[in-house]
């Protein structure tokens, strides 16, 4: 009763429930988490839609994202300015897409965005190599990484232009049985 009115108006909560896969309780909880990241900057009262963004370094320090090798790319993919500064709306969007309730096609779109490191709309060989690098650290030699990314392109590239479009990516992911359970962050 009490906190519900001080943080968000009813119509704001309704709008959040429409646009994301969360309930009003979960949205309030997310607001609490957002505020905990920087209590001095984020206000308690969001009724007049303050324009507050938190930098990427703060978001990527969250325990849910801290160990993820793609955390910077994730935060950048959901930020409006592309540099990783998230407003509360972006924050909620991010966790909504990463939740278990988001449908497969939405997750595929965002996964494509996350793995597209140079933001050119395609997964070229360098993007794949960077993905392999982030997954394995320094354990593989550079020529091994190049070999792996070449194999990936051979397997997934359907139109032969040596880069993966969203369609190629979607085609490949739809054959994976557990993508929807691995592309999932619990918050």
């Amino acid at each position: 009763m009490g906190s519900k009115h001080t943080t968000f108006r009813d119509d704001q909560l309704d709008e959040y429930q429409d646009c994301t896969f969360f309930t009003s309780k979960e949205i309030l909880r997310l607001h609490g988490r957002f505020r905990d990241l920087a209590p001095n900057i984020v206000p308690m009262d969001y009724t007049n839609n303050p324009d507050i963004t938190l930098p990427s370094s703060v978001i990527t320090a969250m325990p849910e994202l801290k160990e993820n090798p793609f955390r910077h790319s994730i935060v950048e993919a959901f930020s409006e300015d592309g540099k990783g500064n998230l407003s509360f709306n972006d924050f909620v969007d991010m966790f909504s897409v990463l939740s278990e309730m988001a449908p497969l096609d939405l997750k595929i779109i965002y996964a494509f965005k996350i793995y597209d490191f140079n933001r050119d709309g395609f997964l070229c060989e360098k993007d794949v190599e960077e993905t392999v690098h982030r997954l394995t650290g320094e354990e593989l030699r550079p020529e091994e990484r190049r070999l792996v990314s070449q194999r990936v392109m051979e397997e997934a590239d359907l139109d032969g232009d040596w880069k993966l479009s969203l369609i190629d990516f979607e085609n490949m992911i739809s054959k994976a049985p557990d993508f929807i359970s691995t592309f999932h962050v619990r918050i």
Partner: protein
């Protein structure tokens, strides 16, 4: 835009289905919380990965299976026997309901005397405990103690031989059902179109391999190692393929002939182990002097189970197969070694008992079995299985105490290069699981002759659980190579099934073909054990006979089968309908305001205001069912505003 109005009845139905679904989820949660050793196994999975966790899950499954089997045996055979032996019923009679076999000329068959001498030294109790003789032989432990009592009291009758036989048969069917159910569940998780038969491919691994839900440094390190290992295996296979393709013809021929030679070497080692076991069994049965000779078959079997796989591993280094082929080959060889050596032991026992199968020659003439060596052959077989189980248990504990703990002690305190290169123990999942399968097969083979063997095995497996857990956390390093647990789980249940088949061959042979002992056991006056069933059947009243005949006949069982199958199908259909209605109602609940962040999701074809499949006249069903939100549906009877 008009939106549909859900009636009060419709929304009540939806509400009920959601409540039911929530109840089902809660019940599943509660049951999962009650599972045995849940926290421990979860901890093991977090620290050591899925492969090691699958070993402990397998062990837990076997513990519960053995416990339930023991309860079955106890309630139908052991407890009635105890009751009938101690209490005398008024008006009861220990009549043999079985037709007497002609006993003239069979005096040699009735010489069974298991009772120990009056004065025994203390240590003989200990020896008897280890070998199942002496005070243990004539006890509820073994087949020989049970009598063929038929108790007929006022309105109550109990036929011990029939109970014994039917309980044994039901025990096997029960184990078969449990294993099939578990392996079907495993194979569902496999999602058969993506099994080991279809290569996973680099792209799948790279883009879907990382679990975004992982938290904590240890779990992520494990996952990274896992991915790294899979990539390295794939790269290694590529390298080997390239190398194989680059060999000249003579080199290829040389490699293949060398491989054939090595296969023959391995085969020779395995066959040599079989001959050793057969010889040891024969020798130990003829002259039973001393504990060492009694345990000779167990010693030879355990030694071969250690030595031969080790030698095969060394040989495999020269075979130069790719890593996945090497692993599969090693597993196959280990499975064949263990199960076939057990079969060889049972076969040599059978040869001795039935004089090489020819029951009318030599020592087997009067009694149709070798009465000179075996006055009560069932008890002897039970004793052999008991000794195998006990020895396996002792060796496992001895390995832990004498090898694994000292190894860790040495590695931690001595810093010389050789010791550090050998390193700490790694928990090898396949060989451990095969040891469990072997132990369980021995118990199955011996359960007919030693009814208390399942409970002994339960206790043994419980102790092994705690010991292995202890050694895992104290002595083992996290695996450098993690194990593909899903496809291997299915394989291990398959091997368990093969063990069950082997044991059931023993059961069928003993029940239907070999003549039971004349002087011991519940079947002592019958031609074969199986004959109890038809004899009892004929002694029932005519109407019961006709009823049972009809129930077993086709006219009744086939309609019953079809009816129960279609019932199951109907329920599935109903659940599917409920799910679809619920998904539809969730979709309907979101009004058609364009969302704020719609603009960001360019290219999102389905979500949001552009296309709501709920209004399609043909489909109307969503493809992705969403989770239920507990907060909604506060107002029954939803109505939408017309926009």
């Amino acid at each position: 835009m008009k939106v549909p109005v859900v009636t009060r009845w419709g929304s009540w139905r939806i509400h009920q289905s959601k409540a039911f679904r929530r109840f089902r989820e809660d019940a599943k949660d509660v049951l999962a919380k009650l599972a045995l050793w849940r926290k421990t196994i979860h901890k093991i999975g977090g620290h050591f990965g899925g492969g090691v966790q699958s070993y402990f899950l397998f062990l837990r499954f076997l513990v519960i299976l053995n416990l339930l089997s023991f309860l079955l045996m106890a309630s139908f055979v052991i407890i009635p026997s105890i009751v009938f032996n101690t209490v005398s019923f008024s008006g009861s009679s220990s009549i043999d309901s079985l037709p007497s076999v002609n006993m003239t000329g069979k005096e040699e068959c009735l010489r069974y005397d298991p009772n120990p001498e009056a004065l025994t030294v203390f240590y003989t109790y200990f020896l008897d405990l280890l070998s199942g003789t002496g005070f243990m032989e004539y006890s509820y432990m073994f087949y020989g103690f049970y009598n063929n009592t038929l108790v007929i009291s006022s309105g109550f009758s109990y036929n011990i031989p029939l109970a014994y036989l039917l309980t044994a048969a039901f025990y096997f069917l029960f184990c078969l059902a449990c294993i099939i159910v578990r392996s079907v569940r495993c194979s569902h998780r496999l999602q058969l179109k993506h099994t080991v038969l279809v290569p996973s491919g680099y792209s799948m691994l790279i883009f879907t391999g990382w679990d975004y839900g992982l938290q904590g440094e240890r779990a992520t390190q494990l996952k990274q190692n896992n991915l790294l290992y899979q990539l390295q295996v794939d790269l290694e296979e590529e390298r080997i393929k390239q190398k194989a393709a680059s060999l000249t013809l003579t080199q290829t021929v040389g490699l293949y002939s060398f491989r054939i030679f090595l296969h023959l070497v391995v085969l020779a080692m395995i066959v040599g182990a079989f001959f050793g076991i057969a010889a040891a069994t024969q020798f130990s049965q003829v002259s039973i002097v001393g504990l060492l000779l009694e345990y000779l078959p167990s010693i030879v079997m355990t030694t071969s189970n250690f030595v031969v796989p080790f030698m095969c591993d060394q040989v495999a280094r020269f075979e130069k197969y790719s890593p996945s082929v090497t692993i599969i080959l090693a597993l196959l060889r280990a499975v064949i070694l263990r199960l076939v050596s057990l079969a060889v032991l049972l076969y040599s026992l059978w040869k001795q008992i039935t004089c090489d199968g020819d029951v009318n020659t030599g020592k087997c003439t009067p009694c149709s079995y070798n009465s000179e060596q075996y006055q009560c052959w069932e008890t002897r077989v039970g004793q052999e299985m008991y000794k195998l189980t006990l020895f396996d248990f002792l060796i496992t504990i001895a390995m832990l105490v004498l090898v694994e703990f000292p190894r860790r002690f040495v590695v931690d305190n001595c810093s010389c290069k050789l010791v550090q290169w050998v390193g700490r123990q790694e928990f090898l999942v396949p060989s451990n699981i095969l040891a469990l399968v072997y132990g369980q097969t021995v118990v199955w083979a011996g359960a007919l002759f030693c009814p208390l063997l399942p409970i002994i095995n339960t206790i043994k497996f419980i102790i092994i659980f705690y010991c292995k857990k202890g050694t895992l956390f104290q002595n083992c390093r996290p695996a450098l190579r993690t194990f593909r647990s899903t496809s291997s789980n299915f394989f291990f249940f398959l091997v368990l099934l093969i063990g069950l088949m082997l044991a059931s061959v023993v059961l069928i042979y003993s029940v239907a073909i070999i003549h039971p002992s004349y002087d011991c056991g519940p079947f002592r006056f019958s031609e074969t054990m199986w004959l109890v069933v038809p004899n009892t059947f004929h002694s029932l009243s005519n109407t019961t006979q006709e009823f049972l005949f009809y129930a077993g006949s086709q006219a009744f069982s086939i309609p019953l089968f079809i009816f129960s199958w279609s019932e199951g199908r109907d329920k599935q259909f109903l659940v599917k309908q409920i799910k679809e209605i619920a998904a539809l109602s969730k979709e309907e609940q979101e009004p058609q305001q364009p969302p704020r962040s719609q603009a960001q999701w360019n290219g999102a074809p389905h979500w949001g205001g552009q296309h709501n499949p709920a209004f399609d006249p043909d489909t109307g069903m969503m493809t992705q069912p969403r989770a239920f939100f507990p907060d909604e549906f506060e107002n029954p009877g939803l109505h939408y505003r017309e926009e």
